[in-house]
């Protein structure tokens, strides 16, 4: 399967579907250590993304990613909106005008996304945030490996005390709960990997 704009758009739609299907799970995770809106935020945001793609799908993978970014930034709010938005914006910039995504470009996009999230949110690995899912994902070669790494990373947040985001207000009480943003990051990357395979 070639990875052109249509394929990237299809992957984004697949991610939207997964996020929507997992809305309640993400709400529950966020209720435990946050304010309970993460699932609703992403569902709402990706809903607008699909709407934007329905209206017109851009020509290049980079342009699709940029449309995702601007839609998430302008429609989601909360912590996840700007952080997800920045991730997609940096990924878009990383892939430039390429008409097809190569494995190298995908890897570059993942690294750029991570850098963007860290630049905005100042979180490090171990702070119990989406960075715990994204960082290991950005170190591996393929999307499939990235998804697996992200899933492991998301699970690794369970025993942690949070140092960033709302969960940081809980101190020790955050222990034992998976970070919702890390979980959603793993879900999105798994959806991308499956769409690309």
């Amino acid at each position: 399967m070639g990875c052109d704009a249509r394929a990237v758009a299809a992957a984004v739609r697949a991610a939207a579907a997964v996020v929507t299907a997992h809305r309640d799970e993400l709400v529950r995770l966020d209720q435990a250590i946050g304010d309970g809106d993460h699932g609703e935020n992403l569902k709402r945001g990706f809903g607008f993304v699909v709407q934007a793609l329905d209206e017109s799908t851009p020509d290049t993978p980079g342009a699709v990613l940029k449309l995702v970014a601007t839609t998430l930034i302008s429609k989601v709010g909360g912590a996840a909106g700007p952080l997800y938005g920045t991730a997609f914006l940096r990924a878009a910039t990383a892939v430039g005008d390429a008409t097809e995504l190569t494995p190298e470009l995908v890897a570059k996009a993942l690294r750029a996304a991570l850098e963007g999230v860290v630049a905005r949110g100042k979180a490090e690995v171990g702070d119990k945030t989406m960075v715990d899912a994204l960082a290991p994902a950005a170190e591996v070669g393929s999307l499939a490996a990235a998804a697996t790494a992200a899933e492991r990373g998301a699970e690794s947040t369970i025993p942690l005390v949070a140092r960033k985001g709302r969960a940081s207000y809980l101190g020790e009480r955050a222990i034992g709960h998976q970070d919702p943003g890390a979980r959603s990051t793993a879900l999105v990357l798994r959806a991308f990997a499956e769409a690309a395979s």
Partner: protein, 333 residues
């Protein structure tokens, strides 16, 4: 879920329509993007004071829009910070050319979205400054964390800064006043029950009949710890002691005491708690010269309360006393 509600996804927009209907003389409201602004704005030559945040904390912030307080507010989804577009729209509705002060409660989401908006506004040539409000002593402040949350002090900061701007202060002065108020304010809250977010449909947490959450925020986040519910004396002491110790406040200080209901706690109980708090302060040699008592920074129907102390000097006292005309706070006008 027991709520007076149509479609949960439309609750903020529909509520804003009601706010607009209720205060036609005072407010202009749009729902896409959601912005509440002064009916008489923009005011040329006046610094515009803009705030916003997730909905569900009413009357914060929309109820504080009007002469002597905010020029505009941008309400996000329930418990979700607004987006940069919304913030930009709010600013453009009230920018009088003398600069814009953004008052932002210190939460990652609010900080990031206001940050983006501020960048975009600056790129458009707007002179914009941001002051973070972070008064919640339940949260440890550290360089390595998200820092303290913004809670009760928000209404106090909005009031004094709004008064300064209304009186013609320039942007630097407004910023200085805001930073002074933030520096002198500390808060702490407890919850007896949890709020129910409309799009979630069930309480954010559950508490046994003899439990309270101590160090609660205003988004249904669990608190720092769960304790056995004490009597009112115990509740007030649990709130007041950490607040006093943090700044610290000391004998001889003049303060504003803000006794805030989280929404579901009735005034009968709130005034009772306020009386205990005032007496405790008197006992410690701290003089309460101004007070605010009521549900002003809420968390939907959550039962509970917070105490905020603001150390006053002559300037802050004068700004607090200045006329204000908003849906939720009004005097001298």
């Amino acid at each position: 879920m027991k709520k007076i509600l149509n479609d949960p996804a439309a609750v903020v927009a529909q509520s804003l329509l009601g706010l607009a209907a209720a205060h036609p003389d005072l407010l202009r409201v749009t729902t896409d993007p959601a912005v509440v602004s002064r009916a008489d704005g923009p005011r040329p030559g006046k610094v515009a004071v803009v705030s916003g945040g997730g909905s569900g904390h009413e009357p914060l912030h929309g109820g504080f829009v009007g002469p002597g307080m905010l020029d505009a507010a941008c309400p996000g989804a329930v418990f979700t910070s607004p987006t940069p577009d919304q913030i930009q729209a709010a600013v453009s509705r009230v920018d009088g050319g003398a600069g814009v002060l953004l008052l932002v409660k210190n939460y990652t989401g609010d900080v990031l979205n206001f940050e983006t908006a501020a960048e975009l506004l600056a790129a458009d040539g707007v002179d914009v400054r941001t002051v973070l409000i972070d008064d919640d002593v339940a949260v440890r402040d550290s360089l390595y964390t998200a820092g303290r949350r913004g809670v009760g002090a928000t209404v106090l900061v909005e009031k004094v800064v709004g008064a300064a701007a209304e009186a013609g202060a320039d942007l630097a002065t407004c910023e200085r006043v805001a930073r002074a108020a933030v520096a002198g304010a500390r808060s702490m809250g407890i919850a007896l029950t949890a709020p129910t977010v409309p799009h979630v449909g069930e309480p954010s947490f559950t508490l046994a009949d003899d439990e309270m959450e101590v160090g609660i925020g205003i988004h249904g986040e669990p608190g720092r710890r769960r304790e056995r519910l004490t009597d009112a004396d115990g509740v007030v002491a649990a709130l007041l002691e950490p607040v006093l110790a943090d700044l610290p406040f000391a004998a001889g200080d003049e303060v504003l005491l803000f006794t805030n209901s989280m929404g579901g706690t009735p005034l009968l109980e709130l005034y009772l708690a306020h009386g205990i708090a005032e007496q405790s302060l008197v006992d410690k040699g701290i003089t309460v010269t101004r007070r605010l008592v009521g549900p002003y920074v809420t968390s939907l129907e959550m039962q509970g309360m917070s105490l905020t102390l603001l150390r006053l000097d002559d300037e802050l006292t004068r700004l607090w006393d200045a006329p204000v005309r908003t849906a939720a706070l009004r005097w001298g006008a």
